[in-house]
């Protein structure tokens, strides 16, 4: 991707201040995986006032359920899954400091509002570009919920993971604005 910005996790507010929807970003550092089942458990812990299996402050969660890895590789094909299934849980995590989410597809108004209020962003990765994305993942380590199989929480070390800003801290939405710009009806 030409003209992409580079960001390293954990993300600080100052990293997000100038990010605009449509901007290409290469992410490096640590990111965490999580899908429906893991999110449900995280929010249950928050509701019970218990500690989470990892500190979400400044972190990024990637909505993914990877394919099995080849021997010697950290991970199999690993593209994003559809984000709306995590909409019910995302605001709770954003409240406690989550700064970024990676997935595909648009978010609910509630999530967009929450990102605006607490300064967080939503990055879209290219759905189906799973073999390409896997190349930017350097290591994978189990963090919690092994029983969930591919849906467990893993810690991934990534280098130049390609994403595009889909919702920024101003409440802008790439999906809405993009479609508006090219619509002919």
């Amino acid at each position: 991707m030409n003209g992409a910005k580079r960001l390293t996790t954990p993300l600080k507010d100052s990293d997000l201040d100038n990010l605009k929807v449509g901007e290409k970003v290469f992410l490096s550092g640590i990111i965490y995986t999580g899908r429906d089942a893991a999110h449900k458990r995280l929010v249950e812990l928050l509701d019970a006032g218990k500690e989470l299996p990892f500190n979400v402050e400044g972190q990024v969660i990637y909505y993914v359920g990877p394919a099995p890895a080849k021997p010697g590789k950290p991970i199999g094909s690993a593209g994003p899954t559809t984000s709306y299934r995590m909409d019910a849980y995302a605001p709770r995590l954003i409240e406690v400091g989550l700064k970024g989410m990676i997935g595909k597809g648009s978010r609910s108004q509630e999530v967009v509002e929450s990102m605006k209020k607490h300064k967080a962003v939503y990055f879209a990765a290219v759905g189906g570009a799973a073999a390409l994305i896997a190349k930017s993942i350097k290591s994978k380590e189990l963090v919690a919920y092994e029983d969930l199989g591919p849906e467990a929480i893993f810690k991934l070390e990534v280098e130049d993971f390609p994403v595009i800003v889909a919702n920024d801290i101003k409440g802008d939405d790439l999906y809405k604005q993009g479609m508006e710009a090219y619509r002919r009806v």
């Binding site: 290409k24 990877p66 094909s77 559809t82 597809g105 189906g128 479609m179 002919r184």
Partner: protein, 279 residues
């Protein structure tokens, strides 16, 4: 009457599971490349470039092009003069079991829609069998990802809704799906038949070679009209805005009852995988 031992089917199915998930069809690749030339939006172009590159990596490294390696769907054409010795369904499921395990493909099937317990081997497959003349067995494997399957829909329209009703229903379905089914998509449309026949036709429509028009004039006309309306929606690759929302619209039809006009839309993502073998 020719006889075929069911055990012969297992390795063929196993190989199909892997090749379909590793190698994107030339027709789809060509459509992605044509899309890249047509696309006006920079974000849309970036997506298409990534998808073309992704297909290359998957092919060269023999890895799944998408991590969602899908529900294993089969269309079987069974020659009437062929006798299969043994259990055809079990042979196919065994091939899936082996192919998904050895091919490092993700197992995405749960044993009951409500208990959500993973069967851990991606079985059972969905298997459609049709009888055809001859003594051959044709196995078409078309794994289907959840993201695009979830955006599929159907309706029982009134005959008076006519062509306009069908066009509007399909375009509305694509619009509602928006970025979720990983556009650029292929839109499979089934019209006519009964309540269960229309979705079956819609899914079968996805098996057609991309870029080929229906040989039935009414269907071909529908395809063209829907394609042009879908292009106007502006959804674009991955829903980032752009021109290339659908690579094709493909319509299959069947005679229907005087009182009904069933229409079904099966949305297929750009990871449009299908491979076949004849035994």
């Amino acid at each position: 009457m020719r006889t075929l031992d069911a055990s012969m089917i297992v390795p063929k199915v196993k190989a199909l599971c892997m090749s379909a998930n590793y190698y994107l069809g030339e027709d789809v690749l060509k459509a992605l490349n044509e899309g890249l030339e047509k696309e006006e939006s920079p974000a849309g172009k970036a997506v298409l470039e990534q998808l073309i590159e992704n297909a290359r990596i998957a092919r060269e490294e023999k890895v799944a092009m998408c991590q969602d390696t899908g529900f294993a769907v089969f269309f079987i054409e069974l020659g009437q003069d062929l006798h299969i010795e043994g259990d055809l369904y079990e042979a196919i499921n065994e091939g899936v079991r082996q192919g998904y395990e050895e091919g490092l493909l993700r197992k995405s099937i749960v044993s009951h829609p409500l208990n959500r317990v993973n069967t851990k081997d991606n079985t059972p497959a969905v298997i459609h069998v049709e009888f055809v003349p001859g003594d051959k067995l044709k196995i078409i494997f078309a794994p289907k990802g959840g993201g695009s399957e979830n955006m599929s829909t159907m309706a029982m329209l009134k005959p008076s809704d006519g062509k306009e009703g069908v066009v509007n229903f399909v375009v509305e379905a694509v619009k509602k799906a928006g970025p979720n089914p990983c556009p650029p998509i292929i839109v499979g449309v089934g019209i006519g038949g009964t309540f269960e026949k229309a979705p079956y036709l819609a899914k079968k429509a996805l098996l057609r070679h991309l870029g080929e028009r229906s040989s039935i004039p009414e269907n071909a006309e529908l395809e063209e009209e829907i394609e042009s309306k879908v292009a106007d929606l502006g959804i674009g690759p991955m829903g980032f805005g752009g021109r290339v929302t659908a690579l094709a619209v493909q319509v299959e039809s069947h005679p229907c009852h005087i009182a009904s006009l069933p229409v079904a839309v099966n949305i297929q993502c750009h990871a449009a995988r299908h491979k076949e073998v004849i035994l």
